[in-house]
Structure formats: C-alpha cells, structure tokens
Amino acid sequence: MEKKYWKGVEELKNDAEFVRLKNNEFYEHLPVDEVLGKKAESADSTSRRDFLKFMGFGMAAASLAACEAPVRKAIPYVIKPEEITPGVPNYYASTFSDGHDYSAILIKTREGRPIKIDGNEQSAISKGATSARIQASVLSLYDDARYKGPSIKGETAGWANIDSNIKAKLAEISNAGGQIRILTSTLLSPSTHALINEVATALPGTKHVTYDAVSFSGMRMANQKSFGKADIPTYDLSKARMITSLNCDFLSAWLSPVEHARQYAENRKLFGKKEMSRHYQFESNLSLTGSNADHRTRVRPSQMGAVAVSLYNKIASMAGVQEATKVITPFDDALSAAAKDLWNARGQAVVLCGNNDANMQEVVNAINTLLGAYENIINLDQPSNMRQCIDGQVEELMSEMAGGKINALIIYGANPVYSWPNKSAVEAAIKKVPLVITTSDRPDETSAMAEYVCPSHNFLESWDDAEPVKGHFSLAQPVIKPLFSTRQMQDSLIKWAGLAHEDYYTYLQNRWMSNMYGMQSEVTSAQAFWNSALQNGVFNTGNTERQAIQYNGDINSAASALNGVKSTGVDIVLYEKAGIGNGNQANNPWLQELPDPISRVCWDNYIAMAPSMATSLGLVQGNVVELTANGVTVKGPVLIQPGVAENTVAIAIGYGRTAAGKAAEGLGFNAYPFATYSNGTVHMESLGGSITKTTDDDYLLAATQTHHTMMGRAIVKETNLDAYLKDPKAGNPDVMIETYQGKKLATEVDLWASPKNPGFDKPNHFWGMSIDLNSCTGCGSCVIACQVENNVPVVGKKEIDIAREMHWIRIDRYYTSDMNEEKAKEEGLGKMGMLLEMEKPSDSPEVVFQPVMCQHCNHAPCETVCPVAATTHSSEGLNMMAYNRCVGTRYCANNCPYKVRRFNWWKYSDNDQFDYNMNSDLGKMVLNPDVVVRSRGVMEKCTMCVQRIQYGKLEAKKAGRRPGDGEINTACAQSCPTNAIIFGDYNNSESKLSQLQKDERKYHLLEELNVQPSIYYHTKVRNKIPSSGNA
C-alpha cells in the first residue's frame, strides 16, 4: 500500500466533523455573514478597530484612485448577442467584387468586427484563393476617407431630404423625355442588373453604362466577329501543357488572376509528376507572368501585332492553312520555337493576349482555333461576366454628355475622370449634366464632381450577389452594422425610382428564393435553399455543354491592320501593379506599402526602362524626365528595370490620385492619359513618344530590395526540367563541408550536438513550412495576409527608403546576371572583377522569386545571443519572441543570416508620424485582438502564426483529439493562390509537410550554416527547351 502522509491531527483521527468539513470548498469557516450581513451593517457592531480598517482602506483606495491612469473604455455587452462569444471568431461566407477583382471569401469577425478575409474553398472559381488586393480590402472598411453620410453640394444633408429631392428631379426628367444614365463599374450582381432594368422601366429614358478602367472590349468585339458572341470566355489553364502569352499578365492582372494562378500552378508543380507545362512570354514590360515564364522575349508594343501575325503564320503553315500577309519580326527563332511547341501540343495549347485590341484578339482567336484550344481550355459557352465595359458605349456617353443630351447621371464605382484617357473631356462633359449623383462609397475624382453624394455601404456592410461566370453564383452579406450614415446603392435606386420593393435585401432574397432556387433540385424548400446558399456563400448550376465553334473572322484584314503599326519613338506601355491594380484601392496603405513584385518599389509609380536604354539616354535611377506622347506630357522619375523592351518605357496605372484620401494622394503620377482610344477600344499604350531629361532634383524611389542579383550564391536553387528528369537532385547537390575527416554533410558538422543527439526534443508537435519555388509566382498575397493577421505596421515611404520595412514575410526577387564563373574565366577577370560584374543584372534577365520569413532555426543564431533570453525556442520547434522581455539590443537581428528580424524603431501606433491605420480608433478596428501591437524598442518577426496554432490546438483538445493535417494553417500559406507554402507538423508522418520533405528538390536556405531551419524550400525547375537550357 502507498504510504500516506496526514496533514494534521484531524486528518489522522478522521473524525466525523472533519470529514464533513473536508467536502466544503473552504475548509475553515468564512465570516461572510459577519462582515457583509445585516449584523455588520448595524452601527453597534462596528468596533473601533473595524472603523480604522475601513478608514485605512478608504484612504488607500481614494489615493489610489487619485493616481492618474490612462482610461481605456471597454464596454461590455449588456445583453450578449447570441452569435458572439468574446474571444471566439465567427466566419461568414461572402463575396468580394469591386468591379475589377472577384473572389468568394470567408470573413473572420471578432466581437462583431471583420478583421480578416480568407478565400472560400467551396467556390469553383476562386477555390479558396485570394489576392493581395482582396486580402487588404478589409482595411478599406475602416478608411477614414470614406463618405460619412449624404451631402448636397458639399453640405451635409439628411437622407429623407435628399431622397425627395432626387426622386422628384428624376421623375421630372423622365416625364419630360430626358435621359438618365447609370454609370457603374462592372457589376457582377445579377440581382442588381435586374433591379437596374426595373429602374429603367420605371423611369423611361434610363440606361445603364458600364465603365471599367481596364477594359476588355477589344476581346468582346473580336469574339463577336470571330464567333458571333460578344463574350469573354473562361480559361482553364490547368489543361494547358503549352502556354504562349502575348503581353498578357494572367498571373497578376489579366481577367481573373487568382483563378489563373491556381490553374497554372497545377501544371508547374512536380510532386509525383514528371512533366510540367512550358510557358513562352512575349511582352513589353517585365510582368509577374513574364518573370515566371520559361522563355521570355522582349517585344516593343508597336511590334506586338506583327508578333501575333507571325505566330499565326507559323502555326498556319504547320496546320496547312492559308497564311496571312507575310511579316518578318526580329524574334523569328523564339516564335518558331513557340509555334512548334504549340502545334505539337495542340489540344493542350493556348495563346493568351492581354492587348485590348480587336484585331490582335482576332488573330489570337484564329491561332487558338487552329490549336484546338476551344475544345478544352477556352470556354465560350460558359462566359465570364468580368469586364463588362464596352469602350464604344463609354465614348458615346461622353459625347452625349458633352452634347448636353444627358439630364441626369448616377455614378457607382466608376471613375472616368481619373482613368479615361482624356480627363479634361470627361470633366467638361460631366459639367454639362444638370443632375449628377454619386453613390460610390468613397470620394474619387469623378464623385468630386457630383452635386449629390449619396454614399453606398462598404461591401462588408452590404447585401449582394455575384455571377462571375455564367452559372456560378455567390452571395455577399453584411458582417458589421454600417459604420457611417450610408445606404446601399441598390436601396437608393429603389427609393429614387419609386419601386415597390421593401429594400434590396428583400429583393435579393426573393430573387434567390425564386430564380436561383428554381435552378436546382437538391434542396426542396426555398427557405432552406436560401439558408444553405447564405451559409456556403456560393451556388453553382453546373457546367454547360460546350458547343463546337466555328471561326468566322477575317484574319487577313486583322493581320494587315496589325502589320501597319509602326513606331520610331519611345513606346509607352501601361501595366497594373500587383498591389494597386487599377487604382481603386489606392487609399489602402497596406497595398501602397506592398513592394511591387518585380521592382520592389513601394509607394510610387515611375517610368521604367531597361538598363541599356537608360545608359544610352544618359539617365540614372531617380532622374526626373519629361515623357511626351500623343500630346500628353508627364513628368516622372526613371526606374531602371531590366527586362523592359528596347526603346520602350513601362508605367503603372493607379497612381496620381487627387481625391482619394491621404494615403493615396501625392503618390506618383497618373498614367491613364497615355492610354489611347482608337478603333473603338482603349489601348493601354502610346506609340512614338519622346523623353527629355529635366533639371529637376532626383526623385526618391523607395524600394525594399536594392541589390538585384544572387552574386553566384545558391540562394534560390534552380535547374531545368531535362536535367531534373535525369537527376532529381539537379541544381540541389548536397552541401558538403571539408573536415579533417574528409567531406561531410553540413548537417553533420556540429559544435554542440552529435548526430545521435540532434538537439532539442520536440515530443508533441514540430511545426514547419515548405515552400515550393516552382509554384510561387511572387504575387505578394502572403505578404498582405501576414500583415493583416499579425498587425504589422505600415511605416511609410521615408522609412522604406532607409530599409526599415516591417513585413514579416518578404518575397525576394533576383535577376540573372550576364556574368558567371565560366565567363569570368574566359574573359580573364579576377574574382573582384567578376563580383563587381555580377552585381549588374542582365538587360533582359530571368527572374526568380523566393518568399523568406523567419526560418525558425532549431540551432538559432538569434537565440544564443540575446542577453535576456527574450527570444527562445519552443518544444514545438518555434522560434519565439517575448516582446515584453526584449530590451532592444538588436544583436539577434545582426546575427540572423536570413535578415528576417524587424525592429520597432519607432512607436508605430498612435503616432502622427505614422498616420496610417494604427493612428486612429477607426483604423485600429482592423487589428487582430489575438496578436499584440508591439511597442517601440522591441524586436519582432514571423511567429509562424502562433496564435493560430494555439487556437487549433485548443479546439482539437476540446474535441479530445490531435489537430489533423491542414486544420491549422498560417496566414501566408492560407492566402497563397498556388499553395506554394504548406504548413504542417513534422511529427505527423501523414502530413503534407512530412511527405514533401522526402522530395529530392528539398533544401534549406544557407544549409552550410547548419542552423537547421524548420522551413524548407523546393528547387525551382524551369521547362526551357533543352538545347537552350542550362545556359
């Protein structure tokens, strides 16, 4: 029997009284009644001693209360809402659709505040993927620049007053036979379209015009001519083995980049596969897509048409079809190779074209018809509803307005004053409209001209639906009460047109419970259908059958029109940045500070030109030049951008906003005026311009990366497919260290631990991440997702310039250099000469991307040097930071070979110097309450989303099981559209992480240091044509 110790004589004796009392919570008698009961209150029971005690306590309490302490108001719920439990997040399925991007999303709310947007995995379109812009859009809700309520001519007004005013005016106009126009950006919502039709019926003379800053009407026109359908098809790149892209940035900007990136990556991943797609890119600017291509050719915008025609001719000759007019381009070799590959892979090959030019799209349609791309890859029968703008209709509206034929203009989301090529013409035209109403949710250049401002809700406060692709529906629901006195545009229309609907929510619900409910047969009650659709956020009617297509276009006239393009001057090509896009979210500081994936510059646009062009013009980075084309002159700074075509400059749109809010204003310049309207479409280019250097002081361009090449180091390991097939370890040889016992693996040379004793035990979990460099496209979604999740501050341009960005994850971008060891030997260059040459990127380099965050080293150099043990290792393999222990010596950051540690140089919250979201109560609502806002003077870095790990572990514990693989996910891995980042547990042999580490492409960054990171990478493999490969 076990020995027993007794605590007292009572226990030893174990008498009855003791046994009775033992079961009480408090063993001894508590004098509750004596102190707090009736007796205590009566005066005669208060002794002198008690009086002194109370006095003493009272004095102490009074003096303590007199000490000034900051008052923080936290108001508890008087009545707890049913669905809100403090500390527990709620997720709502919804839809992001701002006229430019679409994604089905899940919104995470905490205590009624939306704080994070994740992808909705049930969507067949976006499949759980999001982009940086969608991730960042949650901050736009808490933007102080939004309209706070309705106003007339700048004077705050009441909704009732405004409604009666507008209703009367619209009725008057309509009755008098006047013209009303509703000008919106692309509306994916079928219900809103239906509602606008009802408005048009109720108010005769009303028409709906769609305006997109980046339009696809050239493609719609071409498809009308070629196939009789003015539609934009959907693309399934996962079926494409051979992709050739002409100026098409389908991974970052074109049509539906999130969807395309995921499809594209499917054929780029090599796990358990022996083949991957090949990707040719012909482009003028170095785009994200071009950076990922296997073969990239620089083509001036003025040559692009000829390239398309030449490609057609080469494929036509192989197909035995009549060629179009003969054309010779300088890119014959590249085009022949592409044509050959495309033709050999016909049925699984596609050509994509990003030009908004009907002729080019027609030629590309002809090529795709020859290649059989319409059988598998391109689907015209299930068209996309994105980019509904027809440029001709916009042009017509402009001339109608200018002619004084339009009596009322209702604007929603469209901003032609900013983004139409001819700004002054738009301004003059709108001034001629007697009644201008804006229902946009935030000020912009066009809304600024409106007499009536009737702001709509933010999308997170609104009911809506969307049909991005025919037959694919999704719902949007409000996740927070409107912050300001705003009203949804649709509700305003119902009021103004005097429609009989109660409100848009009822209208929407009724439509879904009748129309959409009728499209399915699984759910048998309309209410149940609505509930499930709302819960899932998406609803599909299934795919439509494809019909055989017949190309009816006139290839010869299209080809001769394209061949006629000539340019002698400087060509200008406009492009969208991954963060800023078309500029509609320009006031979002997260997006402004997201480094451009290619140039790594934040907070600006610039005139990008190739190094050779800058040299010949005598320009260096930051020089201010005047760029003139088609009568437009703009001043801007020069950025040296390897990979831009000769005699061509590239400029990002979306900058130079003048009425968008404090974060956006004063940044860069507006490049839209360089767009040109001709042949019924807006072309994002100007040909034949000129550049002159000004005497202005150099302009500061702030970049997060100022060194561009890998200096011959094995940082991003890379190989080509043919080499990889021969040897899976190609490009990834074992890292060996010379020792006195001969060569040894770097991991075997260790000062402290023997191979038998690998260091710390990780008995329970051992978290880690894997990053596949083959599927990372460099889009930057993870950077923003991490910033949102972990309350990473925005630091502004000035701080970026002195290398103080705070991002916990960065995507390093390296260009290849013309110099390598063999070449140095040939040229007889010494080591120093070689290294100096290696610093210079090629004029047209290959590009690699590498996401780098804290590598969570298991022999961490940072942990040993901290004097106060503020950074330590967890038993689950995490490298942890105790912010409130940190004294700020920065030794850990110095000793980090990956340079991933970030120091709080300033107080980034509540500081007017950093007037971004953390400086206002409104902006601070976006902060994640699970992650502390760091104070000044402490170090921070990636935690591998430890708060998510803790949450997942607790949930699993409550359910009495271990967390399954994929149940816990980091923000970066979750947001990655291509699933390049995988999070998991090494101790779970079934986890993807454990499986992927067996792949022979696996390597640790800087393995020779043997710091034993928990993060590993997979070698990048390109699929270049073998003979030209390994160059």
């Binding site: 990366q705 100022t706 060194h707 090449t709 890998m710 200096m711 011959g712 180091r713 940082i715 010379e738 701080e799 002195i802 290398a803 103080r804 960005e805 960065r810 390093d812 971008r813 390296y814 080591k831 120093m832 290294l835 100096l836 590498q850 780098v852 150099p861 040993t864 040097v865 901290c866 004097p867 106060v868 043990a869 222990r885 940190c886 004294v887 700020g888 010596t889 920065r890 030794y891 950051a893 110095n894 000793n895 070979p897 990956y898 340079k899 540690r901 970030r902 120091f903 709080n904 140089w905 300033w906 104070s935 000044r936 003077g937 402490v938 170090m939 960054l1005 800087l1006 020779e1008 240091l1009």
Partner: protein, 462 residues
C-alpha cells in the same frame, strides 16, 4: 636602494627636489585655472550638453532617429562602445603590467592614464545603454534576483559576458586608481589653506598618515590590484571581441579576434594617452615629468601594437581566401572594394601605415609628430570598428537584404557629445586631483632623476 646606470635617460628633468615635485604637481590644484583650461572646459561642456540633448532625444523618441535599419542593426553606437573600451586599455596596461615589469617610466603617466581608463569606460557604458531599444530596462541583462517570474539572463550571450567584463574592469580600475590617489590626497590635504579644501581632501585621503604601516599596506594593495588587473588587460577586450567572433556573420566570425582586439585596444589606448598627455604636460607645465623619453617609450608600444594589428588585418584576408568560404571571401573583398572602401582604406592608412613612421627615432621623439600620428591612430581605430561592424553587416548572406547605412546628426551628436562626456571629468580631474602620482614618483628621484644621474656621473668621474 635600486641603482640605475647613468646611461639610462633620466625620468625626471630639471634637478627636482622632493619639495619642488610637490610644488609642481600641486600647483594646478592650488592655483587658478589658466585661460586654456577654461577654453577647453567650455568646449567640453558644450559637447556634453550636445550629448545630453542627443541622448534625451533618442530615448524620448526612439531609435528611429538614428540611421540604422533592418540589415545594419549596429553602427556608430557599438563602434563608439568598442572604441572607448579600447582606449581604456592603455591605463590598465600602464598601471598593472608595467608595474609588474617594474617599468619606472610609468610613474609619470599612470595617474592620467588610469583616469582616462575610468572616463573612457563610462563613455563606453553610456553607449551600451543608449543603443538599447528600451534603455529604461537596461538593468535586465544584469543577473539580478527578481520577481518577474523565473527570469534570468542568458549566459550564452556574449552581451552578458560583456556586462561582467566591463563591470569588473570598471570596478577594479576605479579601486586601483583611487587607492593610488590616497597618499597624494593626503599631501594636498596637508598643504591645504582653505577650510573647504582641507575638509574635502581630508575625506578623500581616508585618514592617511604616511606611517610605515600605511606605506606597507599601500604597496601590498598595489601589487594585489596589479595582479588582478593584468588578466583584465587581456580579458576585457577579448570578451568584447566575442560579441563578433561568436556570431555567424562573415567578417565577424573569426578566431583571430581576441588577440587582435587586445592589440588594437592597447594601440588605441596609448595613442589616446599621447594625445592627452602632450596637451596636459604643456598646459600644466609638466615637461620635466612627462619627458620626451616617456613619449618615446609609448611610441615604441604604439609601433609594436600597430604592427600586430597590421599583421592581423592581413591574416584575416589570408584566412578568408584559404577558407574557401564564398561568403567570407566576399565580406573581405567587399571591405576593400565595396561601397565602404573609403572606411577600409582610412583604417589601413591610419592604423598600418602611419605608425610605421615611428621606426624613425626623429619622429618618435618629436612632440609634434607624435601628436599628429596619435590623432591618426585614434581615427584609424575608430574606423577599424566601423569597418568590422558596418561593412560586415551591410552585405552578409542573402543579397536581397543588402543595404546601405548612413548616420544621422543624432548619432554623430552622441559620438561628439561623448567626447564631452570624457573631457569634462578629465579636465576636472586635472584641476582637483594630482595628475601625476607624486608620492610614487618621489621614490625614483634618487635613482632616475637628472640630478641623480649627474651625481652618478660625477662619482664615476673620479
């Protein structure tokens, strides 16, 4: 009594008597300060004020006011720290090692050199505190019992070793310096004419009466402290060098650092002693005590340690090449040819080339040349630390994070200001404390002064 050949240079000139020595050395304390002292004190006070402003601004606003960044986490701050600690080393070497080796020429210079050590270490410590992100918790790296929970310092961290090294160094140096001052304070006390100075020097002299027992204890204590200080001369800068040597950064991770840093420290320390004493002997009319011979001796040490440092620089390059490690090789190529080449070549010129001029005995015994070269060495040794810290950090392993560092006026202000933090106490020291250890100096009057030499020569003449 110790006999010394008259062929050896006399250590005290001007046929001084015991009384004259006392008079000469007490004169600055008892008399009024001259114009030059006041000018120097005004400039130093202005610099100190600038230091106070710059440090307050940094602590109040945040380290953002400096030019550091994500890649270069240390620059002027730790450069200055190492520079000041290094300067302190000459004082300890003079008072400890030269004592053990019975080098009598140390007696004229050890007092000022030790004072320099104390003030230099204070300056160095000020940089440890001001470079912290949260200086108000600067005591956390001390292993203090606390109620924060089970918090303890990280004994693996070289910064904790620094804490021990610097605090030990400071306390031993302070005790050594002060114990040496006691007999001199007593002398000043006994000559004091005003009540106030009598009062203060009575307290400072700890009741010294000059008995044989007093002197016996004094000598014993000196010997013990010299024994304690001697390893410190080698250990303190070795520990400081381990801040770098134990790291993984190419250019820091070097086993040569401890001896190389110690040599560099003595090198820079003697240069600073030269700078200070050449001015002091002039301003306080101490040419008879701090003679050309002293200057010559110190220049020889500068020549020796400067050559050791030069060899160390070359060894680093050789090892970088020999190791075959590309990161290491790049770090050194980048030092000499990268964006901070000017810092590297300033260091090479000042530290390796200029001290070689001391092979010429003419320059070695020239006060002017010594002064100029000592300034060069001070500058060169500052650049050495800058080169090690900044050029190694700014381009390490991953080229994407390579960055440039530019100082701000605040960092420059704190450095210039720290010269004020040094010179204000040093100038006060010259006014209130005997700048030469007169009691000890008197022990060599009979053997090494000019009149002793003459007497010896006369005796031999017959």
């Amino acid at each position: 009594m110790h006999y010394e050949s008259e062929l050896r240079e006399p250590l005290i000139l001007g046929d001084k008597t015991y009384h004259q020595i006392t008079e000469d050395i007490c004169r600055p304390i008892e008399g009024k300060a001259n114009k030059w002292w006041w000018i120097a004190f005004t400039i130093a006070s202005a610099a100190l004020l600038w230091w106070i402003i710059s440090v307050s601004y940094t602590v109040g606003t945040g380290l953002g006011v400096w030019g550091l960044n994500k890649t270069v986490g240390w620059a002027w701050d730790i450069t200055n720290f190492v520079w000041w600690v290094g300067i302190g080393h000459a004082g300890t070497l003079i008072s400890a090692i030269l004592l053990l080796f019975r080098q009598k020429w140390r007696l004229s210079i050890n007092r000022s050199a030790e004072a320099m050590t104390i003030f230099a270490v204070i300056c160095a410590a000020s940089f440890i505190v001001s470079h912290m992100g949260r200086p108000w918790v600067a005591y956390w790296p001390l292993p203090l019992p606390n109620q924060f929970g089970s918090l303890w310092v990280n004994f693996n961290s070289p910064l904790v070793w620094d804490v021990f090294a610097i605090s030990t160094y400071f306390s031993v140096s302070l005790v050594f310096w002060y114990s040496g001052l006691i007999p001199d304070f007593a002398a000043v006390r006994d000559r004091a004419k005003t009540k106030a100075s009598k009062f203060w020097y009575t307290i400072l002299s700890f009741g010294w009466t000059g008995t044989a027992k007093n002197w016996q204890r004094f000598e014993e204590l000196s010997l013990v402290l010299a024994g304690l200080s001697t390893p410190l001369v080698l250990s303190v800068h070795s520990v400081v060098s381990m801040d770098f040597a134990t790291s993984v950064i190419p250019g820091w991770h070097t086993t040569i650092f401890p001896p190389y840093f110690v040599a560099g420290a003595i090198f820079s320390g003697f240069a600073m002693v030269q700078t200070l004493l050449i001015i002091t002997r002039k301003v306080l009319n101490m040419e008879d005590y701090i003679t050309i011979y002293h200057i010559d001796m110190m220049n020889r040490i500068i020549l020796l340690t400067g050559s050791i440092v030069g060899v160390a620089y070359l060894t680093e390059f050789f090892i970088a090449w020999y190791s075959g490690v590309e990161y290491e090789q790049y770090a050194f190529i980048n030092r000499a040819t990268g964006p901070y080449w000017w810092a590297y070549w300033s260091m090479m010129t000042c530290n390796v080339i200029t001290p070689q001029l001391f092979w010429s005995s003419k320059l070695r015994t020239s006060v002017f040349a010594t002064f100029i070269i000592s300034i060069f060495v001070n500058i060169g040794m500052w650049f050495e630390r800058f080169v090690i810290i900044v050029t190694s950090l700014h381009r390490d392993y991953v080229p994407s994070s390579w960055a440039m560092y530019h100082p701000t006026w605040v960092e420059v202000g704190i450095f210039i200001g720290s010269l004020g933090l040094f010179f204000v106490p040093f100038l006060l020291f010259t006014r209130f404390f005997p700048v030469i250890a007169m009691s000890e100096l008197k022990t060599i009057v009979k053997s090494s002064s000019s009149q002793a030499k003459k007497k010896g020569a006369d005796n031999h003449g017959h």
